[in-house]
Symmetry: C2
Subunit: 141 residues, 2 copies
């Protein structure tokens, strides 16, 4: 029952110091299955400075351990990335759950549009908003 070993490894390998606060943040994230805000995370880690939480999350984003999830209303949440690779999000407006997915044909379609416009593609994002399977199952309509 270690503290998110793989992520910790990734920190070390990349040359960052594996400090107690960073462990604590990694640990908190590992034990969360829902997208979180920095505030929420910070509240769960009273011994750790807000600034450090911000810094650590930014770091983890660079390492693709955590990914930023833009919400429909303009808000932002973060989530531990399962794949650790490029992906897109299905965001449930009812329960707030976030599902990652990856579709090469979607990416291909995006690249094609860029090429058509004479655009040199550097990156892209795609977010899908709606109601997830379980919310549909139990919900109204």
């Amino acid at each position: 029952m270690s503290t998110a070993p793989d992520s910790a490894d990734r920190l070390e390998v990349t040359g960052y110091r594996l400090t107690a606060p960073r462990r604590a943040v990694l640990d908190a994230i590992a034990h969360t299955n829902r997208p979180f805000t920095i505030e929420e995370l910070s509240d769960r880690l009273p011994n750790i400075g807000r600034a450090t939480v911000f810094r650590t999350i930014k770091l983890l984003q660079e390492l693709e351990i955590v990914c930023r999830v833009p919400l429909e209303d303009g808000g932002v949440r973060y989530e531990r990335s399962r794949s650790g690779r490029h992906h897109h999000h299905l965001i449930c407006s009812e329960c707030g759950s976030v599902t990652e997915f990856n579709d090469p044909s979607l990416d291909a379609s995006i690249e094609e549009n860029a090429t058509l416009a004479g655009f040199e593609l550097d990156g892209h994002s795609a977010e899908l908003y709606g109601r997830c399977a379980s919310c549909r199952g139990g919900g109204a309509l």
Copy 2:
């Protein structure tokens, strides 16, 4: 040389009052060809309250006269929508220009992924980041 007549019409038709501040905002937008922030827009309209600019832009978003453009760095800009319909964005990281595009096969791909996940799709966004044709033409590499 009227003040963005079609947009004004759309306001009236929808039952909103066509007030001087709203005209001013519409006018300012009509004379801008670059994506703008609320701050920039507000600065160009010193006689109009910041809150009104925010409210008007939000209103224009609902009417699809203006669209929200999320940037790669998390920032947000707005732009007068040319098509007035659903579309995606090509955002140049060099000159900041925004190009709209629409691709049914891209949308189809998005819908397919939602269906696969048992997701009831409500809306989606897709932003492409990179360098536009003219920036590539004159630029390095």
